[in-house]
């Protein structure tokens, strides 16, 4: 009898907790689910992906901490619920791949995810083994996109990736850089090799890639993933100290995450941005940037001027 009473109490508390959580989060969840998610096409295939994805550098590298793993799972749960599916990782990011794999299995999303990972090893002979280890960590059948991380041994790895794509082991091939590293080499590879994706750093402050790399990607039909959209959090922390302009409503922005992300994904060459976070409220804010109107060229100039004058 006592057991039954306890079980009833637990159920009641469970329902109470669920109701309270839903009530608190409803405005955010409601916003994210009520509008269609903006997508862009991958030029080489025409396949559409949401303009906001999920990065995993630092944020998902939580080791075996069960509490932190659960928190990451919650982030991914809300990301998928809000219409996201593009997740990016790398063997460089410690336990991030394991944590993503853990969450995908728990959420039963191993089929739904658009999986993007990287090969990051100097000895190209060990590249295949590293990619296989990564695949097992993700708990998926195959990667959608495999990229050469920061151009490490890129010539050899690219050849391996082309073979893998031909054999159907991966669907897309790409290269990555971050924080403006090796842009000249990057440009040469884009000009001379067949690529489905490139990944680079771009945000409203760091706009160097607008000069050559983004126009080249547009010209060559290469999809562009943008990493570090918030400069590892520094940019958004700084922006949040200032008020959002009243005219941000014209592009359906109610927070800085939307403002900064909409600036990035509204560039004609950019396919998606991949902000990383450990927080559910932040992932919902980020995903809300994939809804509503995007700025046009005039509005983008206005956004730059506003931020530069802060």
């Amino acid at each position: 009898m006592k057991k039954l009473q306890n079980s009833g109490r637990r159920k009641f508390l469970g329902i109470l907790t669920f109701t309270a959580t839903t009530a608190v989060c409803w405005p955010l969840i409601g916003t994210a689910k009520s509008q269609a998610v903006t997508t862009k096409r991958i030029p080489s295939s025409g396949e559409k992906i949401p303009v906001v994805g999920l990065g995993s550098s630092r944020t998902f590298n939580v080791g075996n901490d069960p509490v932190a793993r659960q928190a990451c799972t919650e982030v991914m749960h809300n990301f998928f619920n809000a219409g996201g599916n593009f997740i990016d990782s790398s063997p460089m990011y410690g336990s991030s791949q394991d944590v993503i794999g853990y969450a995908l299995k728990k959420l039963n999303k191993t089929e739904q995810v658009f999986s993007a990972d990287k090969v990051w090893i100097s000895d190209h002979d060990e590249g295949r083994e590293q990619m296989e280890t990564s695949r097992q960590r993700w708990n998926i059948k195959r990667f959608d996109l495999m990229q050469v991380h920061n151009l490490v041994s890129w010539e050899e790895h690219l050849q391996t990736l082309y073979k893998m794509k031909q054999a159907g082991e991966i669907r897309y091939v790409g290269i990555t850089t971050s924080h403006g590293r090796r842009h000249r080499d990057f440009e040469k590879i884009m000009q001379r090799h067949s690529l489905d994706f490139i990944q680079l750093s771009y945000n409203i402050i760091d706009r160097e890639v607008e000069q050559r790399l983004l126009p080249l990607a547009n010209e060559r039909g290469i999809a562009v993933i943008v990493n570090r959209p918030f400069q590892r959090g520094d940019l958004i922390d700084w922006a949040k100290r200032h008020s959002l302009p009243s005219w941000a409503k014209e592009i359906d922005c109610t927070n800085w995450a939307q403002f900064l992300l909409k600036f990035i994904v509204s560039h004609p060459a950019v396919t998606c941005a991949i902000p990383a976070t450990t927080r559910v409220d932040h992932v919902l804010e980020n995903m809300s940037a994939a809804t509503g109107r995007l700025p046009d060229a005039m509005m983008r100039k206005r956004m730059i001027t506003y931020v530069e004058n802060l």
Binding site: S57, V62, G63, G94, N150, V152, S153
Partner: protein, 220 residues
Amino acid sequence: MSEWWTYQLADLILFTPKTYFRLIEIYNISIWPIQLVALLLSCIIAVLVWRRPICSGKIIASILALSWLWVAWAFHLQRFADIHWVATYYAVGFVIQASLLIWIGVIRDRLTMNSVESLVQKLGISTLIFALFIQPLLTLFFGENRNQVELFGITPDPTVIATIGLLMLINVRKHWWIYIIPLSWCLISGATLWVLESNYYFVMFVVGILASLAIIKKAH
């Protein structure tokens, strides 16, 4: 890792401060009550330094070597390597230092202590007391909870600082190279804590500078 020069320091620390300090917390919880053994060893070192009985050098060297080995295995390899791939190499460095301590202190019995007279020795005593008893209080004060405490023989920083203090205290003029790994760790840990925006990142830099000055002073 090729093109390593293109990476900034922050690019190499791929975990958040919260994850790092939670790692220490979970580590402390999982190894309890080994912390009591570590505290006992801290007290034994303090008594040996104070009373200086025969064989104190060998006993202290054994305790230090044991501590470096434990930190290499239990902290770096078993835990830290989960979130930071470089920790495997840190473990190797800690094992090498343990071997050097056994070679010089236990096998060759060269870690002999004289009475504390010189400035370097006085600094050594202060550094040792700081590592054994004050630094744990500092981490208790700045940490989110008591499980994030850092102790000699349990986590790297107090272990390294205590070792530096003891080396400043004893007569190792000819064996300056035994400072190399502890000094390297001061730089690595200080830089890591700086990137993680820890409140006490400067401690490792200060100890490193003090030890470097001690080596120069002893050499002259």
